[in-house]
Symmetry: C2
Subunit: 514 residues, 2 copies
């Protein structure tokens, strides 16, 4: 207890004196660093960041093995130049991270954000509030409701109660959709759990792992996930879906939920939603679309039709933080009627939720989630959408598709390259093998070695970060064709020149292992 | 496709030209606004923000009923002064939000952040990366691992593999702990789910609702939650726990998990961990401590002993975003051996996880979660801890306890005030009734009316935001004593003067309803 002797018995704490001055001293130079980071990146003076083979190396660089000593002192009180010292830590972490602002960042499924994205992050930072109840976050609550409604309308959810909520990433949106399916279709599970029922869920063999994780988390188990084969273009076979549902019923399962995918993780395929909807309707099961990756194709003039039938879904996951450059994370779960959130997920918690303004409308958004406190991610989408407009987002997504198409076209005629994804690309990635000695056939393990060598060399060159993956069809067939490249053309900074340079580099590094 | 005619067939997009310049034009004036916001708040020129009775009013102020039109244009391209226009939106949202920087913000369980908190948020914003795999977030992955290990050691997890991961708030940390309990104690559930088993979990009647939500989400159902009575100080009765476990076994349940609380939501009580640990051990069930709110009492010289026995837990939730002013959200799930994360939660996802650097160490952190992408919240705690040092956090927490104690002492002698929480306060809130006419007994509904009237008046005055709640003991006894105030003394800005003024205001508004 610090007692201020000028005022008898006054209890004060001097930790947070002069906050505005401190903000000035710390944030201003940090913002300069940020601006210069982007300026230098765009001027070609900063690359994609160092590649570390061994994480322990980094502990040394960041002095993390001596946290005990670091935390024993206080930079704020013990340093000669506290602002300078903490901003130096900021710079060190920045320089030992991957530079997502670099045009060569083509890793999995997101890109850098942009100035308006950083503005929205700054707003959430200064607000530092919690979008659980309206009282502590009035403006951001109504923004979330309205933006979700508008977003939902793009997918054909146009009723007066259409809307959505944000969750902490696509996985959590998907998990919540499964929870809602169970709670709404089998309300007794809220009290009694799964007991006495073996629920089955259906998704394609190419679906994201979060569907399987959702089944495990919800106590259905991985064996409750029936993985439906895909056609040659990576799309769920609807005949097999129907057969599998029948078979699962025969073996004692209760069909609950089908998750179709808009933009599969590896190949970027879109399942045939209209046909899947018919099957879901026939068996009275929940029809979810996991559009974490491909949902924003809804903004594209050329690919919008891949989402045909989305309006028939019971729920859709779509992530503005992936295709649209909204800061991570920003994932929406959209529904035709947003009252289902509270119906499925609410509990009485009177110490938290006091407001009943309108029986038909919930403004205490945590009620509709399985969590409590949340960062107001919808605000970031709101700012981005205001800034770029619908036409800006359309331009962004169309451009990214153009680039992916250009890349797929270019490699189709080149020796050693083999495109294994659908062409034209249904989403923004292209999966391909590159064999530097096309006359000699490679085994799967040789192919993997080549792919990894080139990918690591690209990363070490500081110019490109692209990911690689095993062929998901191999896990079905038991064959091993080795790992291929999965290049993601997401950022509006990528031009056809970037793509040409990428191809050149791949060939160059390929020569080293031929 | 934009074709640049100066270079034949070059595909470019002009959405993101001059990013550094744009950052300069947008972020700099926004940062000025932020600094002035804090400066004005500290100078008494800015209050806690407007109170809205009707959310629809806000839609008007923010023009949200016309999103269609707003999104049809692009501020970036169509505005005369785009930077000015988007920063004006920033300011409008800021001014229609709750001002958490104000000393009178005493709402539920968090406070403003601080300059170093904003610095760490800025870093995560510019990085805009994803702490799912090491390759795309080298520095922040090792920071998370090391900081979690250090944090875990405070609670007595001192083994070489002690550590933790961050999740998106205390609820998700608690949910994950239950999932880990089930996966590790009953590994077959990962494949087969709960089928054939009725798992039971135990927590006190005063526990946070996330425990019940966890049971629902995991398919156990709310009926699987056995709520253990508390003693007069709000602490779980261990004899009842033992009896209840026995009874639940007799009725066919399989005991799985007990969640004890460090700092209950309403009263702030700490359960007796050592005794609970013994019971958990006897029945081979997982012993979790939900320290979302009170966990950081570990930094307090006077209250640390309330966490005695924490080293006996299988997992502990503790949230630096609550008691320590780290930006929301920052919640850790801490464990004695961090290998349990991957053991419990990992799936094979070879397109994502490639690295096996060390069999004993996992650097692709998403493997250990039930999600995928994550914001690197641990980095914010790292910056705060470096800045304030362990001694700074101790000073902060001790000060907050001093203030809570001062408030509880002051009202104890005042007519009409009735403290209903334990004294001295085990955590940072004080729950109390205020009856402006102490000679006349109030019914429960009258009490609620008075409490709400005063709380709303405090909010409308712009000087204080404090929350209210029904007495959780009433839901057990069936009585209705009405709602009481729950004032949270979290911010280091609060002095004894603030508390004196709060009491004065309560009495003043009380007069209006006497």
């Amino acid at each position: 207890m610090t007692v201020d002797t000028t005022v008898s018995n006054k209890i004060i704490c001097d930790l947070e004196k002069n906050r505005a001055e401190e903000l000035e001293k710390i944030l201003k130079p940090a913002l300069e660093l940020v601006i210069n980071h982007v300026k230098d990146t765009d001027a070609g003076k900063k690359n994609i960041g160092p590649r570390f083979e061994d994480p322990k190396e980094l502990c040394g660089i960041l002095d993390l093995d001596h946290l005990e000593n670091l935390f024993d002192r206080s930079i704020k009180k013990d340093a000669n130049d506290p602002a300078g010292e903490i901003v130096a830590v900021f710079e060190k972490v920045l320089n030992n991270s991957v530079n997502t602002w670099h045009t060569g960042f083509m890793d999995k499924l997101y890109a850098s954000t942009n100035p308006v994205g950083m503005l929205s992050d700054l707003l959430l930072s200064v607000l530092n509030t919690n979008s659980h109840v309206f009282t502590v976050s009035p403006a951001i609550t109504v923004i979330e409701l309205k933006v979700a409604q508008k977003y939902a309308s793009l997918f054909g959810f146009t009723g007066p109660k259409a809307g959505g909520l944000t969750f902490n990433g696509g996985s959590w949106s998907n998990i919540t959709s499964l929870q809602m399916a169970r709670s709404l279709l089998f309300p007794e599970t809220k009290l009694n759990g799964n007991f006495g029922k073996r629920f089955a869920i259906y998704t394609s063999v190419h679906a994201h792992y979060s569907i399987e994780k959702a089944a495990i988390l919800l106590g259905l188990g991985a064996n409750a996930v029936f993985k439906i084969p895909v056609d040659s273009r990576g799309r769920m076979c609807v005949d097999s879906l129907q057969e599998t549902i029948e078979k699962s019923i025969m073996s004692g399962f209760t069909p609950l939920y089908v998750s179709a995918t808009a933009g599969t993780t590896v190949f970027g395929s879109f399942d045939p939603f209209e046909e899947i909807a018919k099957v879901a309707k026939k068996y009275h099961i929940w029809f979810h679309i996991d559009g974490s990756w491909g949902g924003n194709a809804i903004f594209s003039t050329t690919r919008k039709q891949l989402l045909k039938g989305s309006e028939l879904a019971d729920s859709i996951t779509s992530n503005p933080h992936k295709m649209l450059g909204v800061p991570t994370t920003c994932s929406f779960l959209l529904v035709p009627n947003n009252r289902v959130f509270t119906q499925a997920n609410s509990l009485l918690a009177p110490y938290l939720f006091h407001n009943v303004v309108d029986e038909n409308e919930n403004y205490d958004l945590a009620k509709g989630t399985m969590g409590c406190g949340r960062r107001a991610d919808a605000v970031k989408f709101y700012f981005g959408w205001l800034w770029y407009g619908t036409k800006g987002y359309t331009e962004r997504v169309d451009h990214a598709y153009d680039i992916a198409e250009y890349f797929a076209d270019r490699i189709s005629g080149m020796p050693g390259f083999k495109n294994v994804s659908d062409n034209p690309p249904p989403c923004l990635q292209v999966c391909f093998y590159y064999n530097p000695t096309p006359d000699m056939k490679c085994s799967g393990s040789e192919m993997t070695k080549i792919t990894r060598y080139i990918a690591h060399s690209l990363h070490s060159s500081g110019e490109f970060l692209i990911d690689f993956a095993p062929n998901p069809n191999d896990s079905v067939s038991g064959e091993d064709h080795g790992e291929f490249f999965r290049a993601v053309f997401n950022s509006p900074m990528i031009t056809s020149d970037t793509v040409d340079e990428l191809i050149r580099k791949i060939v160059e590094f390929g020569e080293q292992c031929s």
